[in-house]
């Protein structure tokens, strides 16, 4: 415990000067909808960067020929591939809805605490609904 306190010590200062205020680390706060959605927007952004690489791999395989394309399609169709694709769909719809929420904020709307919670839960609901809708549609089309 004392070790952690030592690490959190503020910037060294001149004798007689008051230490600069420092904000506590993230784990000292109780998770809230607002903070969790903010963190998730960044995490899903990072995950979607990896998905963007996979998109290019898919396109390059398509350009390389039928064998390469079949290999990539086979990997996507595997159980691991499907789980990854489901996670990618979830991350995509979350980042899309969260991004639209940010664009609304950029237009100087919805800053009241009540609006922030309403839009936050709307993002959660829309993400789950759109992911479910995409996979149900995929299940029907892929038949």
């Amino acid at each position: 415990m004392s070790g952690a306190m030592e690490a959190d010590r503020p910037t060294p200062c001149l004798p007689g000067e008051r230490p600069r205020p420092v904000s506590p680390n993230i784990q000292n706060y109780r998770p809230q909808l607002t903070s969790v959605l903010s963190i998730l927007n960044r995490v899903t952004g990072l995950l979607l960067s990896v998905c963007a690489v996979m998109l290019v791999v898919w396109l390059v395989a398509g350009a390389a020929g039928p064998q390469a394309y079949a290999a990539v399609q086979g990997a996507i169709s595997s159980w691991i591939g499907r789980i990854v694709l489901f996670g990618a769909t979830l991350a995509f719809f979350f980042h899309l809805c969260g991004g639209i929420r940010h664009l609304v904020w950029d237009s100087v709307h919805g800053f009241e605490l009540r609006s922030i919670y309403i839009s936050g839960w709307a993002v959660v609901a829309a993400t789950l609904a759109l992911t479910a809708a995409a996979w149900i549609a995929g299940g029907i089309m892929g038949r």
């Binding site: 990072l46 963007a52 690489v53 998109l55 396109l59 350009a63 991004g99 995409a134 995929g138």
Partner: protein
């Protein structure tokens, strides 16, 4: 900030040239985000519609000028947005000399991936 200097916060900010490139970065992130809303939804919808199709159907789809155009627009907006986003994440968490290298790799990597994706799209679109 651990490194202290004798300058006032204003002088430090002016020396770094704040409020010059920051707005441009912020604005580019928003423009690419707005472009990505219809482009990514189009892509997801197309993937769902074409599920289970073979290589011939895939290339036939990519040979449509509309599809090739939207695919290239998607790649440009996607990797521009990705580079800007990754830069912010790197700048937030990396404070060593690796920061510059990280931002460089993010931008050059995204540029290379976008060009690779565009080339692949064009090859399929104009191929036999």
């Amino acid at each position: 900030m651990r490194r202290q200097d004798m300058r006032s916060p204003l002088a430090r900010a002016m020396g770094l040239g704040s409020a010059r490139k920051g707005v441009g970065h912020w604005w580019a992130q928003r423009i690419s985000a707005v472009a990505l809303v219809p482009l990514t939804l189009w892509f997801v919808a197309e993937i769902i519609v074409h599920l289970g199709s073979d290589y011939g159907a895939f290339t036939a789809w990519m040979k449509s000028p509309t599809v090739a155009l939207l695919m290239i627009l998607l790649l440009v907006a996607l990797f521009h947005h990705t580079a800007l986003g990754l830069q912010v994440v790197i700048e937030d968490y990396v404070h060593s000399s690796a920061k510059f290298a990280g931002v460089l790799v993010a931008h050059l990597g995204c540029c290379a991936l976008a060009v690779a994706g565009i080339l692949a799209t064009l090859k399929i679109a104009f191929g036999r």
